[in-house]
Amino acid sequence: MNRYLYDGTADGLLSSIAWILEEEPDPEKVTLAKRMDTLFEEGFTISTDATLAESLFFRLKQHAPDAAHTLYSFMLAEKEGMETSLLHYVSLAFKHGDKVKGYLTHPAVRDIVNVAQKAGRELHRMKGLLRFEKLQDGAYLAKMEPDYNIIHPLAYHFSSRLRAQHWFLYDVKRRMAARWNNGTLQFGTIEQFTTPALSEDEKKVQALWQAFFKTIAIPDRKNPRLQKSNMPMKYWKYLVEKQGE
């Protein structure tokens, strides 16, 4: 059984998969792992090639759009140690097309689909739970600490929704930011983050939202368990309506 290694980057992962699919007669029989550079590490290192990585993604997208979407969501999770599963999944996706998502009895498919679903779920949840605050200069800022690295797709979502305003997304843990202004979207990192001053009416609008949040619940039907299962407490930190609870 052949063992392959790659450099640990996303491009490296995808380009090694592309290389193996090209060169190995039976890709489902080989393994792929991140190179650790330990003394007795065995395996053949595949060099990273960004164009190869990209072309793999586009070919998969044409061949099995749904599987390519799963691959994309899986990559958001930045999971290590599942490279072999991903390799087998992509190989199966080229073989079976989009039907592969039903092949849940296969351990590699199940593992990849599971992780992809979790990342996809958080992305969908965040589209609702993200909260913008209006700053003194009229721009809007939303801070978040998601489990997965979802800032890219999230920013694209808001770029078609909040088109008329200037806004920032900031992933506090990863120090990554997205900025939308005058029709262009940019990504970058922020080394030193200082919280900017809020606009004058911001607290007033927040108080209105808090009041709405309180009154819209039916008092006879309090159900904190259901509330928490739909909206886990780890997201409360930046929720205006959950401040002071």
């Binding site: 079976h96 039907k99 998502k101 039903g102 092949y103 849940l104 009895t105 296969h106 199940r110 969908h124 589209k127 609702g128 739970l129 993200l130 909260r131 913008f132 605050e133 209006k134 809007y140 939303a142 808001f158 078609s160 929704r161 909040l162 088109r163 008329a164 305003q165 609008v205 108080a207 209105l208 939202w209 009041a211 709405f212 949040f213 309180k214 009154t215 819209i216 619940a217 039916i218 006879d220 039907r221 309090k222 159900n223 904190p224 368990r225 259901l226 509330q227 739909n230 909206m231 929720l239 205006v240 309506e241």
Partner: protein, 420 residues
């Protein structure tokens, strides 16, 4: 009165409205404006009662000239009254939307001076949001029964979804509890909306520039437990609304006793379990290929309290089971208690690759706690196949496999002389 107080009064008055859905519409949104809608709908928060908050749900006014027995806002009830100006609603909507608190606006109202005058003011809000503010988010508008056809048409042009509340499941109850509302004033706009939606869909097939009419369809709502109709009557009514009027959703709202009235039943608590069972039965109508007549009958017109309606059906139809997981078609799989749309689809998809074994069933994430009494898997059964239904009934009830118990089982007490 300041805006905060108004918001408290007018969102508090709207909270009993069950529908919150923001799905079913895809609106790109104007290039220079704010907002779009997504076809799957987005929840922005979950309230303390566990319900999804997706829309700014408010009444334009709670100052009502009508006197519906079941309603807090009835004219004879001494509650504080408030009305928003159009500007206030527009600003609230935009301020909330820009901060990503909401998907859009859900606007309803009490009848202020007349149905026409009220509806006109509601339409004005929607019109200003769409045209002056270039708002592309979701708008759900209630139609005030008795308003003119023109206003209904205008509402449909600006809103994603419009709805007319049926309120009560029969004409007799309507007459007794909401004497100012007439059946035809409710059904007529529903039919009109249905026709307009159908025409708009046809026109948009011919030309994508044709105006859209309520692209997310129409829904309605009825109050459960304030009047004596049984579940069978209610389900048949819903079935008719789905089939004949092409409604997207029927919402059921457990009657919450807000004021005493000798025309109303005395309830210890809102009939939540009954509402829950009706929603389950409604799913069976919409997604599982059941008819109201399969779920209930004149001899057994009430939904079972202990079992969900699908399990209840399965227990009455032992001849249908066991179902073989590897052979049964999708529609048959859907009839197995405990197997939902997702599980049935997974089973069908996984079968393409290999026969499913009992272990495989677990691997693809199908929970068989309830299903195990009703299926075989590659010819093997999980349970003794010859158990009489009565025994399965008992085991389901007592065993690990019953649903999470509802903490309160409100019993409905009906006052003597109420049943017509």
């Amino acid at each position: 009165m300041d805006i905060l107080e108004k918001l408290q009064i007018l969102s508090g008055a709207a909270r009993y409205d069950a529908s919150c859905a923001s799905s079913g519409s895809r609106r790109e949104g104007p290039a220079c404006g704010t907002g779009n809608t997504s076809s799957s709908g987005i929840c922005h928060s979950w309230a303390d009662d566990g319900r999804c908050i997706s829309l700014l749900k408010i009444l334009l006014s709670n100052d009502c000239i009508y006197d519906c027995a079941y309603c807090v806002n009835r004219s004879t009830n001494p509650v504080e009254r408030a009305s928003f100006t159009a500007r206030e609603v527009i600003d609230l909507t935009l301020d909330f939307y820009r901060r990503n608190y909401i998907e859009g606006l859900f606007l309803s109202s009490a009848v202020m001076q007349s149905p026409d005058q009220t509806m006109e003011r509601m339409v004005m809000v929607a019109e200003a949001l769409r045209t002056e503010e270039q708002f592309g988010g979701y708008i759900h508008m209630k139609i005030i029964p008795g308003c003119s056809r023109d206003l209904v048409r205008k509402a449909g042009l600006y809103a994603d979804r419009i709805s007319v509340n049926i309120e009560l499941p029969s004409q007799a109850s309507l007459q007794r509890l909401a004497p100012q509302k007439h059946k035809h004033a409710i059904l007529e706009p529903m039919a009109l909306i249905g026709r307009e939606i159908a025409t708009s869909l046809l026109e948009r097939k011919a030309s994508r520039r044709a105006p859209r009419f309520a692209p997310a369809g129409q829904s309605t709502q009825m109050i459960i437990g304030a009047s004596p109709e049984n579940d069978f009557q209610i389900l048949r009514l819903s079935q008719g609304l789905y089939k004949k009027m092409n409604l997207k959703r029927v919402y059921y709202s457990a009657y919450v006793p807000v004021i005493a009235d000798n025309r109303l039943p005395v309830l210890a608590a809102p009939p939540l379990l009954r509402e829950h069972r009706l929603y389950q039965a409604d799913w069976l109508l919409r997604f599982y290929g059941f008819s109201a007549e399969e779920i209930l009958s004149d001899d057994a017109p009430h939904l079972d309290e202990s079992f969900d309606p699908k399990t209840a059906w399965a227990l009455r139809h032992p001849e249908f089971f066991p179902v073989e997981i590897n052979r049964a078609d999708y529609a048959t799989l859907l009839r197995v208690p405990g197997i939902g749309v997702l599980s049935a689809k997974r089973i069908v998809a996984a079968r393409r690759f290999s026969r499913i074994t009992p272990e495989g069933l677990k691997k693809i994430g199908v929970v068989i706690k309830r299903a195990k009494y009703f299926i075989t898997c590659s010819g093997r059964s999980f349970e003794n196949p010859d158990q009489p239904p009565a025994l399965i009934r008992q085991r389901l009830l007592l065993g690990e496999s019953s649903e999470a118990p509802m903490s309160i089982l409100p019993k409905q007490l009906v006052l003597p002389g109420l049943i017509a």
